[in-house]
C-alpha cells in the first residue's frame, strides 16, 4: 500500500519534471508539444521482458513492459502491477533494432513483434506462428531476426536426422519471410554406441561478410538432450543468404560451444573477430566434458578456429566453468561462472539459487576478474545483454535454491549495472517478479 503511494508520488514527480523540461525547452527548439509540429520527434523507451512470480499453482506469467527512462532500470521498482502486456506461456524475448520479438515455448506457438507506434506506445506490429518451437535466435543484422527450430527426435537411431528449420524474419515488418531447412551437420552416426546419431543443437549464430557462423551441440536424437561426443567445439559455416554449407569446423581444445537456450555461444567483436565460449559444466548440461571451459577465436577473414588462441577460463585465476558469456565491447565480456558443478544436470537453469559468480573476461589479455557488488545468484538470461554507455544491465536473482530448501518469497531480483572497466556492479531497480528475460531500448 505504502509502496504504491510512493510509486504514485514518484510518477507524478516524474511527470512534473518531464513536463517542466518540455515547457522550458519549448522556446529554444522545435520539440514542442504544440500541434503544428511538421516532423514527429523520435521517442525512445526501455522495454523489458518480465517474468512475474507464479501465483498459486500456475507458472509465472511473462509480460512485455515499457519503461519511460533509464532511471527506471537504475532506481526504484519494476512491477507489472496495473501495467504491461500479459503474454501466454513461457517465452523467449529478443530484439532486432527497434523491434522486440517474443515467442512462446511449448504452450504457445506464436512469435509476436512489438514496436513503438507514432505516439510512442508499445504495440503489437505483427505475429506469425511456427511449427514446433523456435529454440535459438540471432539479430544477424539490423533488419533480420534469424530463428531456428531444433526440437525433435527420431524413432530409429539409424535413420537420417531430419533437417533443422531456419526462420528468416523481417525485423522491420515483424513478418516471417521464408523458412529454410538444412541439416547443418549431416555426418550422421551409424546409430551405434561407438558412432551414435545426433541432432545439431544451435547455440549461437553470427553473420560476417556474407558468411553465417553457427555454433552447435550434438545431442542424442531421443529427446533426452543427452550430449554425444561432448569434447569438441563445433561451428558450421554457411554462405548467407544462400544457406549453402561451406564447412564444418571443430576444435579439440575445449567442449561444445554455448549453452542450450542461450543465444550468445558465438559473438562478433568490433574488429570482426568471432569469439566462442565453451562451458564444460555438468550442471549446465554439458555433461561428461573432460576438456576445460574456455574461449576460442575465429579471426576476421578466416573460417577456422585460430590455432594460436585458446583462453582456458577454467584454469585461469578467478576462473571456473562458464554458464554464460556475452560481449560488452572493447575486448571485454561479462560471464557467469558455475560455483558448484556437482548439483546435477540442468539444475543451474532454475530461476532461484546461489549458482553463479559474475566475472569480467578480458578476451585479449586473457584475464578473469570477479565482479564486486553482486552476490552469488541465478538467472537464465534468454536474450543478449543490454549495454548502454559501455555498461551492462543484467537481471539477477539472489536467494537459496528450492532444492536446498530455499523459499521463493525469500529471493530478490534486481538489475545490476556492471562496469566492465572497474569490474564493479551497482544494484539498480528491484524487479518485483522472478526475473527480467530481456532489457531493450527501442525508438519509433
Amino acid at each position: 500500500m505504502k509502496t504504491k503511494k510512493i510509486n504514485w508520488i514518484k510518477s507524478m514527480l516524474l511527470l512534473f519534471v518531464i513536463s517542466s523540461v518540455a515547457l522550458s525547452c519549448s522556446s529554444d527548439d522545435d520539440t514542442t508539444i504544440t500541434p503544428p509540429d511538421p516532423e514527429p520527434i523520435s521517442i525512445s523507451k526501455y522495454v523489458v521482458g518480465f517474468q512475474a512470480n507464479p501465483i498459486g499453482q500456475a507458472t509465472g506469467v511473462d509480460y512485455v513492459l515499457e519503461l519511460p527512462s533509464l532511471e527506471s532500470l537504475t532506481t526504484g521498482e519494476i512491477t507489472v502491477e496495473g501495467q504491461g502486456i500479459p503474454l501466454k506461456g513461457w517465452r523467449f524475448f529478443h530484439s532486432v533494432n527497434n523491434t522486440i520479438f517474443s515467442s512462446g515455448y511449448g504452450d504457445d506457438d506464436k512469435c509476436i513483434a512489438y514496436q513503438l507506434d507514432e505516439a510512442g506506445k508499445l504495440k503489437e506490429a505483427a505475429n506469425f506462428t511456427f511449427q514446433s518451437t523456435l529454440d535459438n535466435y540471432a539479430a544477424i543484422d539490423d533488419k533480420t531476426l534469424l530463428a531456428v527450430e531444433l526440437t525433435g527426435g527420431v524413432d530409429d537411431f539409424t535413420k537420417n536426422i531430419p533437417d533443422r528449420s531456419f526462420y528468416v524474419v523481417n525485423a522491420e515488418t515483424g513478418l516471417l519471410e521464408k523458412v529454410v531447412t538444412h541439416a547443418i551437420d549431416s555426418r550422421v552416426g551409424e546409430g551405434t554406441e561407438g558412432s551414435p546419431a545426433y541432432i545439431p543443437w544451435v547455440t549461437g549464430m553470427v553473420l560476417r561478410g556474407g558468411k553465417l557462423f553457427v555454433s552447435y551441440h550434438k545431442l542424442l536424437p531421443d529427446n533426452s538432450f543427452a550430449p554425444v561426443g561432448v569434447d569438441k567445439a563445433h561451428v558450421a559455416v554457411f554462405k548467407y543468404p544462400e544457406f549453402e554449407l561451406e564447412s564444418l569446423i571443430e576444435d579439440e581444445r575445449t567442449s561444445f560451444i554455448g549453452i542450450n537456450g542461450h543465444s550468445t555461444g558465438i559473438e562478433k567483436t568490433e574488429n570482426g573477430d568471432i569469439y566462442s565460449f565453451s562451458s564444460s559444466s555438468d550442471a549446465a548440461a554439458i555433461t561428461g566434458a573432460t576438456k576445460p571451459s574456455g574461449i576460442l577465436r575465429i579471426k576476421n577473414g578466416t573460417t577456422t578456429f585460430d590455432p594460436d588462441y585458446f583462453f582456458d577460463v577454467e584454469n585461469a585465476p578467478n576462473g571456473g566453468k562458464l554458464f554464460w558469456m556475452d560481449y560488452v565491447g572493447n575486448g571485454k565480456a561479462i560471464g557467469r561462472i558455475v560455483m558448484d558443478d556437482s548439483l546435477g544436470t540442468w539444475t543451474v537453469f532454475a530461476e532461484q539459487g546461489s549458482f553463479f559468480k559474475m566475472v569480467v573476461i578480458d578476451l585479449i589479455n586473457q584475464t578473469v576478474t570477479d565482479v564486486q557488488g553482486i552476490p552469488a545468484h541465478a538467472n537464465r538470461y534468454t536474450s543478449p545483454m543490454f549495454v548502454e554507455d559501455g555498461k551492462a544491465y543484467l537481471s539477477s536473482r539472489v536467494g537459496a535454491s528450492l532444492a536446498s530448501g530455499g523459499k521463493i518469497e525469500d529471493g530478490e531480483t534486481h538489475i545490476y549495472i556492471v562496469d566492465p572497466e572497474t569490474a564493479m556492479a551497482t544494484k539498480g531497480a528491484k524487479v518485483k517478479g522472478l526475473t527480467l528475460k530481456g532489457i531493450f531500448k527501442v525508438s519509433n
Partner: protein, 782 residues
C-alpha cells in the same frame, strides 16, 4: 467407421428392447405419503408372504406390485417413519389401489448413520456439509453426471468442449487431484478417462453425494478438497431399464441397466452404457494466416470442428447371492470400459489437429461381501476387493499440420508429431489392487463406532514403440496408498444433536527407479523409496433447533499425498524431488438449513460458509529443459454459497443457487486467477400428472448456468485493458418429458444452449452452440 458400427449396434439394441415381453400379473398400485400428505419416495414395500417380492416407491411416492391373487400383508417402511403393515386381498384381473400414510418416528429421525442407509434427504441432514442430487427426475434426460453435479453450489466444472472432452472439477476452490471421485464408495482415482464423470450417464445413477472439504471416513482417499460419491443402483427388486438417445453433432447414447433376484437368493445385475458423438459443432474467431504462418488480420467465424469424435463404452456385470446365512450380500463382478477420444486442438484452439487421439481401457474383477447384524445385531461388515488393469494410450503419429479448412501441409521434419515434439505411441499400463473394508459397531442406542480401511496399490509402466531411447515411466513406479479411518458417531438430546468425531491415517509407500542417462553403469540406476505417514482428524456436528432450522459445522485437517510422478518424476524430463511433502489443508464449513411450509408452498434455504487453508501446494518448476515439483505455494479460500428452493403443490419448483469465493495466494498475497469466483444456476420445473391417462406425467423444466467473467492470469497485474479474461458464461437448457404407464415408457426432448450463446472457457475454448436431443427410455420393475 465407428459411426457405422454404432448404428448397427443401436438397431440390435432396439431389437433387444422389443424382445422383452413381460407376463402381466395382477397389479397392486399405491402411493406412500406422510402425515402432511407429502409423498415419501424410496419407501420400501415388501410382501411379507412372498419372500422376494418388494418394490421401492418412486419420487412421487408411487409404487406398483405384480403378484398372483391371494391375501397378503404389505410391510411399508422408511427411515424416520414407523413401519406400517397393511393387509390386502388381491383378486385376479382387478387392480388394487392403496394409499399408505406413514407416521413419523421421532426417535428414529436422526438415526441415519446407525442404519447405514444414506438416503438422499437423510444424507443432506447429516453433520457433514454434503449435497445430494437425486437423479430420479433426470433419468429421462440426455445428461451425464457432470451436468448434474454442475447444479450444486460450490461446484464448478470447466469442460473443454463437447461430449467426452477433458474437464476440471473444482469444489470450493480446490480442484484436480485435490478432489476425489468414488463410485459406490470405491475410489476411482487411478482409473483413466473411460470411467469418468464426463461420460457416465445420469440414467445409471441413483444419486450423487458431494462432500465439501470434510469427508466421512467411508470414502477412503487423500481428498484434500472434498469427495464425490456416485451411487448406482441400490434397488432390491427385479428391473430392466433401457434407454437410447440421439442428438445434435451425431450424438448417440444408450444405456442398459437391470437386475434379477431369484426366489432362492441368487442375484444378477448388469449396468452398461455406450456413448458416441462427432462433436462437430461450429466455433468462432479463427485467425486466417498465410502459407508461412503470418497473421493476415482476418478472423473467420462458424468454423466446424472436424476431429473431435468421442466414443466410450462400459459394462459392469455382477452376480452372487443375497440374504443368506453366510452373507447378506456376496457378489462377484467384472467391469470393462474403453474409450477413444480424438483431440481437436491443444489449449489454444487456433492450431487444429487432424489425427491425434487418446485411448483408455480398464478391466476390473471385483468381489463384494456384506454381512449385517452380527454380534446381537450390533456389528455390520462390508468388504470390497478388486484387481484391475488400466491402459492409457496417446497416438500421435502424423507429421501433418492441419488448418481449420480441411487442408494440411506435411511438416519438413517427418519425425514430428502433431501434439508432441516427436511422434508418439506412448502408453502406460497400470496394474492395480484395491481393497476396501468397513465395519460399524453400535455401542449403545446413541452411538456407533465406524472403521474403514482402503488400500490402493498401483504399479505403472510406460512404453512407446514409436520412440527410440528413453521414454517416460520406462521403469515401473509403485504407489501403495493405505488410508485408515476411525469415527465415533453420537446422537444426543433426542437426536436433535448429532456429532461425528473422526481420524484418518494416511500411509503411503512409493517406489521407483530413476535412471541417470548421463551416469556410468554402476550409478546409472538409483532405486528411490518414499514413505509418508500423516494423521488427519476432524469433527462434524449438527444441531436441529426445530423442525425448521438446522445448524451444521464441520472441520477437517486433510492431506493429498504426492502421486508417484510428482515425487519421482517420469524418468525422462520430469525430475525427482524425494523431499516433496504432502499438500495439507484445514477445511471448515458452517452451514444453516431452513425450511418452512405455507399450505402447498414449501421453501428450503441452505447456505454454507467455507474456509480452506492449504499449505505446501505442489507446483511444477522448470529447470531448463527439465522440470521438478516443489511445495512452494500456500493458498486459502473463503467463500459463501447458498440455495433457495420453492416447491408448490409438489408440481412446480424453482431453485436458485449462487457461490462466491475468494482464493488467495498466501505467499504473495495475490488473488489467484483462472478460477471462477462468482457463479450460480437456476432450475425450474413443472410436472403435470394424469394428462392423457392415469399414471402418466408431463414435465417441463429449465436450467440456466451462469459464470461471471474472471481473469485468466491475474487480478492485478498487467494493464487492465490488456489482460486476458474468460468472458461471462450464460446458457440455458430446456427439457420436455412425457412418461406414461407409471414410468414404464418415457420420452423426452431437450434443447441445450437454447439461445445459441457463445460460451467460452479455458480462455478461448468455445462450447457447443444450440443442440437438440431426443431420449427414449423403457423401465420395468416388479
Amino acid at each position: 467407421m465407428s459411426v457405422f458400427v454404432l448404428r448397427r449396434n443401436s438397431c440390435l439394441f432396439f431389437l433387444f428392447l422389443c424382445s422383452i415381453v413381460c407376463n402381466a400379473q395382477t397389479n397392486i398400485t399405491g402411493v406412500v405419503i406422510d402425515q402432511n400428505s407429502n409423498p415419501v419416495p424410496e419407501a420400501s414395500i415388501q410382501v411379507v408372504e412372498l419372500k422376494k417380492k418388494g418394490v421401492v416407491s418412486d419420487f412421487e411416492g408411487r409404487f406398483t406390485l405384480e403378484i398372483p391373487s391371494g391375501s397378503y400383508t404389505l410391510k411399508i417402511s422408511y427411515v424416520g417413519f414407523k413401519t406400517y403393515l397393511q393387509k390386502v386381498d388381491v383378486i385376479s384381473s382387478e387392480t388394487t389401489s392403496l394409499t399408505i400414510r406413514l407416521q413419523e418416528d421421532i426417535n428414529k429421525l436422526s438415526d441415519v448413520i446407525v442404519k447405514g442407509r444414506t438416503k438422499a434427504q437423510k444424507t443432506r441432514e447429516k453433520a457433514f456439509e454434503v449435497e445430494v442430487i437425486e437423479t430420479k427426475g433426470l433419468k429421462n434426460m440426455s445428461v451425464d453426471v457432470n451436468s448434474v453435479l454442475m447444479t450444486i453450489p460450490g461446484v464448478n466444472i470447466r469442460q473443454n468442449g463437447g461430449l467426452g472432452s477433458g474437464f476440471d472439477f473444482s469444489l470450493n476452490g480446490l480442484s484436480g487431484k485435490q478432489v476425489k471421485f468414488f463410485i459406490d464408495g470405491i475410489p476411482q482415482e487411478n482409473f483413466g478417462s473411460s470411467l469418468s464423470l464426463n461420460n457416465f450417464p445420469a440414467t445409471l445413477v441413483e444419486r450423487a453425494e458431494v462432500f465439501k472439504g470434510v469427508v466421512p471416513i467411508y470414502l477412503g482417499a487423500d481428498a484434500l478438497g472434498g469427495a464425490i460419491n456416485i451411487i448406482t443402483n441400490q434397488r432390491k427388486n427385479d428391473f430392466l431399464d433401457v434407454s437410447y438417445d440421439i442428438g445434435s453433432f451425431n450424438t448417440h447414447r444408450a444405456t442398459l441397466n437391470g437386475q434379477y433376484y431369484s426366489d432362492k437368493g441368487f442375484v444378477a445385475k448388469v449396468s452398461s452404457f455406450y456413448n458416441y458423438s462427432d462433436n462437430d459443432y461450429k466455433i468462432d474467431g479463427i485467425e486466417i494466416r498465410d502459407e508461412l504462418g503470418n497473421d493476415t488480420g482476418t478472423i473467420r467465424n462458424g468454423v466446424r470442428r472436424f476431429h473431435d469424435a468421442y466414443n466410450s463404452q462400459m459394462i459392469n456385470v455382477k452376480a452372487g447371492i443375497v440374504d443368506k446365512k453366510i452373507a447378506d450380500q456376496l457378489l462377484v463382478g467384472i467391469t470393462a470400459s474403453a474409450n477413444r477420444n480424438e483431440i481437436q486442438h491443444p489449449i489454444d484452439p487456433q492450431n487444429p489437429f487432424g489425427e491425434v487421439f487418446e485411448e483408455n481401457n480398464v478391466i476390473q474383477a471385483s468381489i463384494i461381501y456384506e454381512k449385517r447384524n452380527l454380534l446381537k445385531e450390533k456389528l455390520n461388515l462390508k468388504l470390497f476387493a478388486a484387481i484391475s488393469e488400466n491402459n492409457d494410450k496417446k497416438v500421435d503419429t502424423s507429421s501433418r499440420k492441419y488448418d481449420w479448412f480441411g487442408g494440411f501441409i506435411e511438416r519438413s521434419d517427418q519425425d514430428k508429431g502433431e501434439f508432441e515434439f516427436s511422434k508418439t505411441l506412448f502408453e502406460f499400463k497400470d496394474k492395480m489392487h484395491l481393497l476396501n473394508a468397513s465395519a460399524n459397531y453400535k455401542i449403545g442406542e446413541q452411538s456407533t463406532l465406524n472403521f474403514n480401511y482402503t488400500k490402493n496399490y498401483l504399479k505403472r509402466q510406460g512404453e512407446d514403440p514409436a520412440r527410440a531411447g528413453r521414454i517416460a515411466f520406462n521403469d515401473p513406479h509403485i504407489l501403495d496408498k493405505n488410508i485408515l479411518g476411525l469415527s465415533y458417531d453420537v446422537s444426543l438430546f433426542e437426536d436433535s444433536w448429532s456429532t461425528t468425531l473422526f481420524t484418518k491415517g494416511y500411509l503411503l509407500n512409493s517406489e521407483g527407479i530413476i535412471e541417470d542417462v548421463y551416469a556410468n553403469d554402476e550409478d546409472r540406476y538409483t532405486k528411490f523409496k518414499n514413505n509418508f505417514e500423516e494423521l488427519g482428524y476432524g469433527v462434524a456436528s449438527t444441531y436441529k433447533m426445530s423442525d425448521r432450522i438446522q445448524v451444521k459445522g464441520s472441520f477437517e485437517r486433510t492431506f493429498r499425498i504426492p502421486e508417484g510422478y510428482e515425487a519421482f518424476g517420469d524418468g525422462l524430463l520430469l525430475k525427482t524431488n524425494p523431499n516433496l511433502l504432502p499438500e495439507e489443508s484445514y477445511n471448515v464449513n458452517i452451514g444453516f438449513l431452513l425450511n418452512n411450509q405455507w399450505d402447498k408452498l414449501r421453501v428450503n434455504f441452505d447456505t454454507n460458509f467455507f474456509i480452506r487453508d492449504t499449505k505446501n501446494l505442489i507446483v511444477l518448476w522448470s529447470e531448463g529443459i527439465n522440470s521438478r515439483y516443489f511445495n512452494t505455494a500456500d493458498a486459502s479460500s473463503i467463500g459463501i454459497e447458498g440455495e433457495i428452493k420453492a416447491t408448490y403443490n409438489d408440481n412446480f419448483f424453482v431453485a436458485v443457487n449462487a457461490t462466491y469465493q475468494k482464493i488467495q495466494d498466501d505467499v504473495l498475497n495475490e488473488r489467484i486467477a483462472n478460477i471462477p469466483y462468482l457463479f450460480g444456476n437456476l432450475r425450474a420445473g413443472y410436472n403435470i400428472p394424469n394428462i392423457l391417462s392415469n399414471h402418466d406425467k408431463m414435465s417441463l423444466s429449465l436450467d440456466s448456468y451462469f459464470v461471471n467473467e474472471f481473469p485468466f492470469q491475474s487480478f492485478s497485474q498487467g494493464a487492465p485493458e490488456e489482460r486476458f479474461f474468460i468472458p461471462e458464461q450464460l446458457s440455458h437448457n430446456i427439457q420436455l418429458g412425457y412418461s406414461f404407464k407409471q414410468g414404464k415408457y418415457n420420452i423426452s426432448v431437450q434443447a441445450r444452449n437454447v439461445t445459441d450463446a457463445i460460451v467460452k472457457d479455458n480462455l478461448d475454448i468455445q462450447k457447443p452452440g444450440r443442440a437438440f436431443y431426443l431420449k427414449l427410455r423403457y423401465f420395468i420393475s416388479n
